[in-house]
Amino acid sequence: MNVEPYVKNYLSEHYGDDSFQTLAGYEAKGGFAGLRKALAQTPEQVVEIVKASGLRGRGGAGFATGLKWSFMPKTNERMKVIVVNGDESEPGSFKDRMIMERGPFEVLEGIIIGAWAMGAQRAYIYVRGEYTRAIRTLEAAVKELYGKKRLGKSTFGVKGFDLDIVVHSGAGAYICGEETGLLESLEGKKGQPRKKPPFPAQHGAFGLPTTVNNIETFAHVPFILDRGVEWFKSRGTEKSPGTTLFGVSGHVERPGLFELPLGTPLREVLGHAGGVRGGRRLKGVMPGGLSMPVLPPSELEVPMAEEFLSQRGTHLGTGGVMVMDESVCMVRVATVVSYFFRDESCGQCTQCREGTAWVHKLCQKIERGRASDADLALLSDVPKLMEGQTICAFADAAAWPIQGLLRHFRDDFEAHLREQKCPFPESFEL
């Protein structure tokens, strides 16, 4: 993996510099300027600034960050907790890893600003277990801050501002990236999303008022505080300001990360990645990780921001752009996708537990050339039984990509029925 994105912007400007992961190096590049400005203002003012900036969560749902922060109770009767979601379990996503490994202090500065704004006394950074380097980097950065007495009692010298930060390693389940599944896992329980109500802001980690934000979301915060709302809003789109680290993978010449303003047309994102490999034709793009419906090549002009993608039946998700060329069998893709979601469903809700397995069995049957028209009809119907009816959005995430593939690549499915075999000999191995 490269140590820095191919295309850099404010977030990743110094990711190529090894000293940026040390406190001295970070401060030499102007680090903590945002925090100092935040500490000079009241917590309420900081929440208002984040609200005014229009920052949207970068974890997949795109929820307004400032609004989320304002849900936290204003009183201090119970300890308030920030949980930072570094689980990054969405296939096709690898931006948070880069941020944690190369910009740990950006994340920590954002957390400290968030803690000031929300009155939190503890922050847990929940990092995907496989990300050992990210865990080590964050732990070292936290240790450095404690060593300089910048954390704990009187954080950054502010009396009465006591913040502790804990780096916690996950144990490897997709569902632990869902915010309440993550909270269960953090508490040492089986990673299963919680029913709502109660919502985390009232009853989150260890029963305490909690706000969960993604790693990248926090990394943007110091820049907003330091450079101002207008500066931030001048990047990206009106409804989705700022940049993001698009992670492009699959059949492109130069897979990797590209920090680009939100709203950059998909064609341009792919252009940065060198276009489709070997001059082949593009077949489809999953724009935001495995759970987001595929886009056909006719949609290449779409600006990569939630408000435009949702008009086309898909979502920005995590900005993990997965590119498939003409050799790809979309039934095979459906089989892989449905296998993943079958394997990762936590198994609580009926629709998800039973539906994911059924969908996978149907995809497998079609791919192996043993299916009938009835099976294809079922593959259209079963995801409808799953959508929008479960404790968390996992069942949606499992249903949507199948629906997307059927919507745009029905020919592939029908060809399997007609020929009673897979007509794509060159496609990837199952």
Partner: protein, 467 residues
Amino acid sequence: MPKIAIDSVEYEVPEGRTILQVLDDLGLLGNGVEVPHYCWHPKLSVDGSCRLCQVEIEGVPKLQIACNTPVANGMKVHTKSDRVIAARRGVMELLLINHPLDCPICDQAGECKLQDHAFDWGVPAARTTEPRRPAKKAVDLGPTIVFDQERCILCRRCVRFCREIPKTGELGVVNRGDESLLELFPGSELDNPYSMNVADICPVGALTTRDFRFKIRVWFTDDVESVCNQCSRGCNILASRSNNKVYRFLPRRNDAVNDTWICDHGRMSYKKNSTGRLTAPRADGREASYTDAVKRAGELVRAALDAKGKIVGVASPFASNADLAAFRDLLAALGAGPARFSVPRGESDAILIEAEKAPNAAGCRALGMVESNEQLGRADLALVLGHTLTAEVFGDVRNIVLIDTHESALSARATVALPARTFLEKSGAFTNSRGLVQSFSAVVEPTIEAWSESDALAQIAAAAGIA
């Protein structure tokens, strides 16, 4: 109090309750308003996972689960809209794709919520041709419960029961997704004083009691309301009967007494109705007809009265209030003092089980009877109900007239012994430890000549010539 509308009917409901709780409070659930559910149980924490109880709420885009949605003023709930019915059908179809559908050989058939809801909301034919998920069959989870893993729909009621009521936590769901399985935790077995309740709350045929399974099809039984007589809690029960035989006890919900539970000991006590019974009347050491035994008892009473001898009464905390009252009245007519009684005692817990191992000690006390286990001392005649006192206590008593349900050392020692009806063979009432007077109905007829204590006492009094 918030006002809500359920299917366009307005109700005033308490704050802070969920839609299902409110329906339950109002007595509407399954009784005018159908909101089917598997994982929700009124006495357990909310799980929210079966998704069958989804309802439509005006102004809320997605369907919501009634079990976890708090009521709010002005809320308009719809339980039978097209979207709701479609969601129910979806859940039922998905629950059935891996269910073995072995109803003809499943002991839950007839009282199975999967059958019931499939009948009401299911799709008429399976659309899946995939093989069904195989799993373990007829596994012993412990001494009382047999588990069929294939039939389990993973509602986790049993898991929550073990964690929340006996707080023993033997069960959990392992693995993820469609590989999820209900299992015992390694090294444990389901063996706690309340274990058999999991069979009651299991909505399907996954958990059945070893005692009842395959004894009889439930549609051949009918259930009669009764009260458990094994301790002073007085848990409300249903007795399932068929062919004048009791097949099982089930807990009957009473939120003031036993919620929806009973202990395993109480549940199994139905067997006492047919074992160790005092079946033949006896007089002077020999079997006698019921009429002759009553006649002999009358003679003993008359003789003691005529000789101005001492008559003592020993009551039983297993007798009903009516029988105890008849006993008190007879003793007063005979000029005897208040009856004594004795209560067997044992272990108790903070859930249901109480230390007094009899159902009606409070009834004895209420009638002025005196608790004592001491020697009766010299007496010409003891009139005795039941055998809660040992035979030794009667050392200096010349004659004993005993009316009892079961054989004991005392029935062997008694001058006259008359078989009595058990609480399952008569109607009556017990007063429990909290002073609640709880009535029970006759479930079966006795298979021998036996009368209730009050009837037997009236016959003896008549035989003794007492008006």
